[in-house]
Subunit: 315 residues, 2 copies
Amino acid sequence: MSAEFDRFREQYKQTLTSGLFVIDRVVSYLCRSHGKGLRPVLALLCARLGDNGVSDSAIKAAVIVELLHEATLVHDDVVDESAQRRGFPSLSSRFKNKVSVLFGDYMLASVLSETLEARDLKWLDILAETSRRLAKGELVQAARARKLDMDETDYLTMIGDKTAALFNASCRLGGLTGGLADPQIAALGIYGENLGIAFQIKDDMLDLFGNGARLGKPTGGDLKERKLTLPLLSALSKVNKREARRIKARIKRGVKRPEIKMITNFIQDNGGDVYATEVMNKHASEAVRALEALPETPIRTKLEELGEFVVKRGK
Amino acid sequence: MSAEFDRFREQYKQTLTSGLFVIDRVVSYLCRSHGKGLRPVLALLCARLGDNGVSDSAIKAAVIVELLHEATLVHDDVVDESAQRRGFPSLSSRFKNKVSVLFGDYMLASVLSETLEARDLKWLDILAETSRRLAKGELVQAARARKLDMDETDYLTMIGDKTAALFNASCRLGGLTGGLADPQIAALGIYGENLGIAFQIKDDMLDLFGNGARLGKPTGGDLKERKLTLPLLSALSKVNKREARRIKARIKRGVKRPEIKMITNFIQDNGGDVYATEVMNKHASEAVRALEALPETPIRTKLEELGEFVVKRGK
């Protein structure tokens, strides 16, 4: 996949580059660092399942899903930035906020232009559905974090929207460019959706129980941002209401290192980590099961292995 | 137009309403107040130029352009909010920032869904081009404001992107739903583009020389935000480099009431207001001239009158 991934990277940068200094300065900054590239990998793998293989269209699909993902991150950073400098924003941090919002919008506009180049309403349907789910998931997360009222169902809907929707779209767009039949594309969507949910549960578990050094960031970030995730929600549902209220009140006041340790102990004492692992594994299995609709090929095996990787990874 | 405008208003709110409390709370807030509705009016008038008149599609076009406009405003507010609370952001202002960014994204996603309902790639082409120009115009404005380096050509390109693009799109989408021929739709695009430029120059002049009470906000806001607009750019080009540098340095340090008066005097002493008025009128005339491609009907007269309104308005 490495040659194809390089083609994707190059195309990605080229899509954003505008010839305008204002924009290209930010593009260079953005392209200096990049994540695991899971979404483009999914699109490229799913394309390879079909007769067309990794065509220019497949590369475009990979670019589109990564652009959409990065645009979300850029807008997320607006919020995180102000948290880091709480109470003392410098003028430069204000400027960055402004540029982040506007640059995120520029990326979203680029996603639309790129998608439109396929001249296929199917692509646009996937994009529209995914954009709406992403925005809804992020909004719900922001609002719930303030109120701390969320149950397991809300949580699963929310991570479905904010994370799994784009995994789902990556797989379907890739399959579409590969030339797969509609039922196979639908199966890839189910694979992507469940993989995405397992991925996000794992992410949330790493934030509570992971190795900060390996993750490259301190654990407990979600608790600091008052985000309730599955292990904690499960533990809260196991104790009496007074105990649950006490823990929530703690989180609402804002937690630091010692309280974080106290809360992760509380979760483990009430089996929240075990329960979340079960739910995660269930979704990873459902992802792999959805692949049965596809012929047994080495690429299908790779997708199955991705299901394992997602739940076993340490970062 | 009033019945049609009411249909538009209703449809607008309905499009954003989601059934999710988190979202609908913001929608209610947003729909409490609204602007002049110039963009939907343009779309509806242009639709009435054709045989189809104001169909459901025309209402949809009006909704789309207003949604796109409001999404831009919501994201603009993120920046303005932090300016108002400079140095002392409350938690509630942070939360609002977060919701503003995410809600703007939700609106952009809704724009795409609505546009897609027309099942017509022409609509999507207009949307993609407009979104990209909007984002580019806003980014350039933000970056130039920091550096204070801009000339008249940069200014005209920038306001073309950030303002005229959407006027242009409103007219073309309206004409498209009305059933006009391609050359007529192109003429409406030229009308909208020039009208938008004239509109923005007028906006910028009102910010310098308007009546604050009538405008409902203090004048001089652009200078405070270090935005150089046409009257000032023209005046700066008339004086020697040292004088121009001195004025720019003043603006860079941040201006308050007394400096604003000093700068507006400087502009008037160097004929910047007269020059900007000339450029504005030239674009308003070009807008009206573009309408000659269309049959002389009462609706065409209304569009001509809009050209006059845009340059004569006091708010």
